[in-house]
């Protein structure tokens, strides 16, 4: 495209602006239409499988979502024409599959109207897409975010503390990570991960030299000075506080992993990662001894089929039901609407991966994982090709947080790692998770647009 760059830069830059966008955005439009069709197809198949007929009501609601996704596409055309064309279709399809799986559980439970998690999920999805549109339209340049690093630090900490406040704090299944105002519940920790990623990126851009250059060598690894250790200890303490006071293993792992990977990308020092992992494992082992719920999770992971563990309160019953469901699905699945995913508790949120695997089979699970892989690899690529350090770190951090969350969820459900209560990004029922992940997608889109707007010349 830049082959026409001549010594008259004005015309050249106009030409660049006119030629690229159409191609990328047209590609995106085609893929988005396909993604909406596949998502709608999943809903129709669910209805056919479970009810034997189609029900236009829910399809109409899903149609509203398709219109909103197209609105997002149009706003990208207008404000971020160079943005990555694959993120929006992938996210749309994941969201659509999630809605189909949640709706499936509603059909099995006989929920309808506002009681149905599927309808609420559609409503939350539209809020999330609107939030993503707002992010795309308002943040015209991601470097603005760098200025708000301390604001985001405080926002992150406040969001983390909110669920522990007396009146609005709300406990569900033992984990104190919700706030409730009236009938409205929200999980502020999901938004905190965006705020913390922005803060980490801005902080590390400034301080990475002192983190990577200074320190004493020991066993061939350079260890940082005590005063540079400050931030990592603060984050460790925060992660452990979440673990202890909010009783949420997954979230604390998520925040800590986010910080570790960003510090590793910024400094390129393995010593930080080793030290961080050591701290986390040490903390988790102690927590496993002291905190009952962590020990229970470990037992359920290592020995789930032991009748004693299986029948215990908070034991491995749920995990094993999920495993049975996935085994029932086999290679090609039972078909949408034809399995019994509703036998697993929380089949629409924490165990949505098990529900989808039962009905779509191993082939479907791998397709879903491939979609996540595409999303995350686009994010890493955006980080990799970024021109400024803040954008690079932010891109890597945000996509890694999604990657880690997928690993923790899928690994927990498939018994690779101990089970923790995190939501599968874009799939699982839960408004806060949807809003946060759509905002992450929007920030990545904004980053990719800025990257491709760089002056380009091919020699």
């Amino acid at each position: 495209m830049t082959s026409e760059l001549t010594s008259a830069p004005e015309t050249a830059s106009i030409r660049v602006r006119l030629r690229q966008p159409a191609r990328l955005r047209n590609l995106e439009l085609v893929l988005v239409v396909i993604a909406c069709a596949v998502g709608g197809g999943a809903l129709v198949l669910t209805q056919l499988g479970a009810l034997g007929q189609t029900d236009p009501g829910v399809l109409m609601l899903a149609g509203v979502l398709a219109v909103l996704v197209l609105a997002m596409h149009v706003s990208l055309r207008l404000t971020a024409p160079q943005a990555d064309p694959f993120i929006l279709p992938v996210v749309t399809l994941l969201n659509g599959l999630g809605i189909a799986a949640i709706y499936r559980i509603d059909l099995a439970d006989g929920d309808s109207g506002w009681d149905a998690a599927g309808v609420r999920q559609i409503a939350w999805s539209s809020i999330a897409i609107l939030a993503a549109i707002v992010v795309i339209v308002v943040i015209r340049n991601h470097r603005v975010l760098q200025r708000y690093r301390f604001v985001s630090m405080f926002a992150g900490i406040v969001l983390l503390i909110l669920p522990m406040l007396p009146i609005i704090g709300h406990e569900v299944y033992g984990a104190q990570i919700w706030i409730r105002v009236g009938t409205f519940t929200f999980q502020p920790g999901e938004l905190a991960k965006i705020a913390l990623a922005i803060f980490f990126a801005a902080y590390l851009v400034e301080s990475r030299d002192s983190l990577s250059m200074v320190g004493t060598k020991f066993l061939g690894i350079r260890f940082p000075r005590a005063r540079d250790l400050g931030p990592i200890l603060v984050i460790w303490a925060a992660a452990m506080a979440v673990l202890i006071f909010q009783r949420d293993l997954g979230t604390s792992l998520l925040y800590f992993g986010l910080f570790l990977i960003m510090i590793y990308v910024a400094t390129g020092r393995v010593s930080w990662v080793l030290m961080g992992l050591g701290l986390f494992i040490g903390g988790a082992v102690i927590a496993g001894q002291v905190l009952g719920y962590v020990a229970g999770r470990f037992r359920g992971w290592l020995d789930p089929f032991n009748p004693e563990v299986y029948d215990a309160v908070g034991g491995s019953w749920q995990l094993v039901q999920g495993l049975f469901g996935m085994a029932n699905g086999g290679l090609l699945g039972t078909g949408l609407g034809q399995g019994r995913p509703d036998l697993v508790p929380l089949a629409q949120s924490d165990f949505i991966i098990a529900s989808l695997t039962e009905e779509l089979g191993l082939a479907g699970l791998f397709a879903i994982l491939a979609l996540y892989l595409l999303f995350i690899s686009r994010g890493f690529r955006i980080g990799f090709s970024g021109q400024d350090d803040f954008g690079r770190l932010l891109g890597v951090g945000l996509s890694f947080v999604v990657a880690l969350q997928v690993f923790i969820v899928v690994g927990g459900v498939t018994r690779i790692i101990p089970l923790t209560g995190l939501t599968a990004p874009f799939l699982a029922a839960g408004g806060s998770s949807l809003v946060a992940n759509w905002m992450i997608a929007a920030i990545l889109l904004r980053l990719s647009d800025t990257i491709r707007n760089q002056p380009r010349l091919v020699v």
């Binding site: 495209m1 830069p9 596949v38 078909g335 082939a363 595409l374 760089q454 091919v458 020699v459």
Partner: protein, 173 residues
């Protein structure tokens, strides 16, 4: 709904899902390996596939425009343009804003130089204060500022010749 129809629909849906995944992978392939970076109408000998890249090193003249550097008005102030002074695209120029400009063979770079001597991520130009600084990103064949190899980030005065592979450029206001 008969059992068979549902079975066929199930298989069809899985195929559709995978078709979508592979459509994206296919589109990604073209996104990764170019199309966005198109080759120039071949400067001189446009015979073989590799010709435009390898033809350049033959002519490696002493950087002509050193004279231009000492022209009046090039003394102070921040550079706003990069001007290619020798190589396949001599004479072409590129505007600088205050953002870093990456140089390399990869199509992610701000300035893409595709000859055999350029590394994928070769160097970058950054604005430090009001002064442009060139940093070599561990390139194989090095970045040369006025004939000296750049090892640490080095300020680039206006009109000084930066040489990467067979391409030289300089900064101008």
């Amino acid at each position: 709904m008969s059992e068979l129809t549902l079975l066929l629909l199930k298989l069809g849906f899985l195929l559709l899902l995978w078709a979508f995944v592979f459509a994206i992978v296919y589109a990604l392939r073209s996104d990764l390996f170019g199309e966005r970076v198109r080759r120039m109408p071949a400067p001189q000998s446009a015979s073989g596939e590799q010709a435009p890249y390898t033809a350049a090193p033959a002519a490696d003249p002493a950087p002509r425009p050193v004279a231009a550097a000492s022209s009046p008005g090039a003394a102070a102030g921040t550079a706003r343009r990069v001007v290619i002074t020798s190589g396949a695209k001599a004479g072409v120029e590129l505007d600088l804003d205050d953002q870093p400009l990456t140089i390399g063979r990869s199509s992610d770079s701000g300035l893409v130089i595709r000859d055999d001597y350029t590394s994928t991520h070769h160097a970058r130009l950054m604005l430090w204060g009001d002064e442009w600084v060139i940093q070599d990103l561990d390139s194989t064949n090095g970045t040369f500022l006025d004939g000296k190899r750049v090892t640490a980030p080095t300020p680039v005065p206006l009109g000084a010749t930066v040489k990467i592979g067979t391409t030289s450029f300089e900064l101008r206001r």
